[in-house]
Subunit: 347 residues, 4 copies
């Protein structure tokens, strides 16, 4: 009954098997391993992007900030949602890696609207050298609040960015969950919609700690390898990253894992919907649900062994008062555990 | 009829005279000049702070960011108003000098309220290492919108900061205008109210480009001199900064200049108040006024040679539609020029 | 016949087994996993340092620069050997993570002598704020040139550093190889000799990409966790790092692996010593050998499938002319492969 | 008898007069003043470079590091002399402003030779992403040790740099002294010889603290204004910098001042040459002399009121033992003071 995060579950057997298989003899280090050639080719094929530049790192933060610093000057500002992971959960890593760029938060709760983006871009970069210059626009799909941008929404925002000459980054920590939920192709959600560089997440979807950074415009990638090395993110025994990512890409494993995570969340949501004291704060099309129910239920659920995060409140308070929580499903959950959880929650 | 900024006027004769007087023979460089000893002593006396550490730099941005970087870690966030100069007008200098710290904007239009500060501090620094750690609180007096914190308001905000163990910085680009308007002492507006380090501005009040950074807690100043040097802000011929600041401090010149600037703005405001189509957006107790009147008046005034900044709009539009502008008075204005201006504006 | 690096071989079965064992159910992320508790305790026991602060990262560069930035100000300089990994092979990562500190190279080929260290420290930090302030001393054992500092040599250098109030860092990418070669305890080579923080390497000695940073003085570690996070080096699925390091520490695996690597190099060296055209540039007490032989031999060896790095020259040139190479042995080599190699090299 | 530095003397009357003249009414800030238009045009004319981009700052360190950071990536290394001001006397400012670039010291005492430059460039940037990438070459004329590169020498070094695709910076803190000593034009010593950007010093040659950065390739200047602002080096009352630089450029004042400084040093040297116990370490063609004489003479001179820096030793020691000192002449010295000094020194 672990719904605290999708980065707490195990990896699938294919990943362990791939590590064991890769563990033979000697391999060139630092990304020159043969498995990385496979990874690169599979990603280019998957994204229908034969020129894409592909690199691996071990954390989503590293992927995001190495991508962003490749396309952002230190005197620029990055436009992002006020709840973006790069703003809230990376401990100033974007500021650090860009050499001091600012993050400008687009007003709104989660999904960035075209109107808000335009107003925010207009509001920055118009003070000459006094304020920061305009820099990249960074989107996240699945969003931090469990919502989805449609392909059309991404394209509309990217078009606005391009109108100002600004590059577009996509934080795809839950890229697979989004693609599965939207029923689109990876290309449609990225370069065909105007995305220049994407953090293609593996960790939240079944890998031990592997993320790909994919540049659709090779010019943007010119400094990436030096930046990765000076960030301490170039692994000598790189084959163990490649092996995991290769396994992830083979036989659509990445898609199957995400489909399972999304389905697991749908099962949770389905059960919760049966009770009208449960209020949904987002439509859980992917694997995240923000949901509200009485505090007493939380006390029962958490006391009974369920694990998840409360959002904006604590267990102390009136038993009847509603309290929000965040539920995240990963690929590995069993129907039994899900049902056990929802039965524990509901009265 | 120049109301665009208080950094566009001339310096008083005393400052030129002090430069000429300092221009004799040889002087030790890099702040070891005898005039700097005078400056240090005068500031300690003025602020009733015999242990204060005092340094000079040539710009308000330099003063602010060297002060802040002395008391802020790169993984922290600085709390400031959403219109703070350090956020809006320093082109990421705080991010740069701190090595990548973030600025967290306290919601509100200008003046930070205790409630908003508490809520903002509570909202940051509670995510362990995922978000930034809490860092300094930075206030500005006179504010960017021409308002004044009372001594009591500063003390209340500083007390909140101290309750969280956070140091307090005061951006005093218009320090003199504030002290004169409040009728308080420099000590009352700073260390007695809980301020740890202040940017004591001279440039907007009659110097060519000299600001003092004053640390009331010498421990906070430990790294300042190295930081100033590596920022390129240690001037070899430092005596020319010292001479200006010494002149500024002698015979209460700093106070007289600010009193004149404030009085000049009062004269502007007095004339404008006679017309009820003029709407005041702030109470101009210091030397700044945000004021609204019909667009046609702006066309007449700006066309007639007045210089000031429009705020949030352009000259294009309906003649009757109100449009805001910012007026700033400096010490050097004549009554004649002021009256000429208000007569030009008013119908 | 792979002697190019000790980061190119496989990991031992215990490491794969530990990953599989750790891959059960859910685990708290970001270092809060139970396996990390085991790692911390084992390292404290191993180093006889019950207060030590222990953290894991995925690369030696990350370990070094996060350790150094925890004990170095941006306006300081780090003293290190002119061939130190932090200078030659980390692409400015120390400068980046420290926010712009300098590296001051102690003259000499590899091993830092007390005389050279004193002279270098004296030569820096004596120009007031004009030059950088003195910062940490960073040593490496096994050195980049395959040599060893004795415990006494480390203690002598650390004593000098401490005499200037400077902290001491040890780059232990090959920590295990050094301890085995010296026949000392981990405590003797570190805190008992005056080392404040050590990068305790696992990657070159059989892990996939896991290094521990160990602070013997908890005060030095105060900012480490924030720095790791903002560097993108805090892994969510941290248990997979913990599991590897735990396996490494159990049953003296770390020591056995290093002993095998050192013995493998001794076997190489023993065979090579039989031919007097082979000139040894270092005494290969650990697992690295710099050695010179005729260019024609290199052509034969490299042509025959051996892999290693030439040092300071290329294959082109006179067949008789001597040319240096670097040989590194890892734990996984077989006697057969070693003998095949030396037979291929020698005429 | 002040020979400690050329940044300790007064400014000429023309500079004070220019400040007074500029101190009339209102002027646009931040470099938009009319005097800056004059400065820009005069510099373009002087350097025969109608497209040059020209900006002013207040310190030589600021000029150097803003110039360098405009043409250097954070993962690159800057090639400079081991005694370069950017290495020895700027407290890590280059590392700071570039975001962490390294400085690679070209072996040798002062003047960089073509052979040493080639060897040093070859030695860096050949380790792929492991070491830093090659960045700008920075030269200094007059050098830190009082020597001069000929125009031909600069051209030879710049040609080497260009062969590797590297830009060339010239630290011209004593630009005027060099041009006068060499008898060349500013264009010949800069862009005609392959220099891309120059720090054109005014401070050491009679201004209060004004340096120009001149980019001959406008593309290199693209980020300069944002970098200057975020460094805190954009002065609001910019006219007071412009006024000084304009005065400096009018009527060849800059050249006259340098000619006087050089002549003053020649007078010192001429007197000292009469005694064969005086050993010259450099040929003082500009305004600096490194010279050795018995320690007893230093005791007499310094005790008698002369001011200069000892170099590599202290007053304590055998009276007969030779000890080096650095003498620097500025424009303002009188023949009388010079003769008084040399008579005091010589027995």
């Amino acid at each position: 009954m672990f719904f605290a995060s999708d980065n707490s579950g195990p990896v699938p057997a294919q990943v362990l098997a791939a590590l064991a298989e890769a563990n033979q003899g000697y391999a060139m280090g630092y990304g020159a391993d043969a498995l990385m050639d496979e990874v690169r080719q599979r990603i280019r094929d998957l994204f229908e992007a034969p020129e894409a530049v592909v690199h691996l790192v071990t954390s989503g933060t590293a992927a995001n900030v190495l991508a962003l610093s490749s396309i952002c000057q230190p005197f620029q500002t990055i436009f992002c949602s006020s709840v973006a992971h790069i703003h809230e959960d990376e401990c100033n890593a974007p500021e650090f890696y860009t050499g001091g760029a600012k993050l400008t938060l687009v007003p709104g709760d989660d999904i960035i609207t075209p109107e808000a983006l335009i107003a925010t871009i207009e509001g920055e970069g118009n003070r000459g050298v006094h304020g920061p210059a305009r820099g990249p626009v960074s989107l996240t799909n699945v969003t931090e609040m469990g919502n989805l941008y449609s392909v059309g929404q991404i394209a509309a925002l990217a078009k606005i960015a391009k109108g100002y000459g600004l590059p577009v980054h996509l934080d795809g920590a839950r890229f697979a969950n989004a693609v599965v939920a939207l029923g689109c192709t990876p290309a449609e959600m990225t370069w065909k919609a105007g995305v220049d560089v994407v953090s293609f997440g593996g960790t939240k979807n079944g890998l031990m700690g592997v993320e790909a950074v994919i540049f659709f415009n090779p010019d943007h990638a010119a400094s990436f390898e030096h930046r990765r090395k000076r960030g301490g993110h170039l692994l000598s025994k790189h084959r163990y990253l490649s092996a995991q990512m290769a396994a992830y890409l083979r036989d659509d494993l990445w898609r199957d894992l995400a489909a399972r995570a999304n389905a697991n969340m749908a099962r949770v949501a389905g059960a919760l919907r049966t009770n009208n004291q449960v209020r949904f704060l987002n439509e859980p099309r992917a694997n995240m649900l923000f949901v509200e129910w009485p505090r007493a239920w939380h006390q029962r659920a958490l006391g009974g062994g369920a694990m998840y995060h409360l959002w904006g409140g604590t267990l102390e308070g009136e038993a009847d008062a509603p309290l929000t929580c965040r539920l995240v499903a990963d690929w590995s959950m069993t129907d039994q555990a899900i049902d056990q959880f929802t039965q524990l929650v509901l009265p």
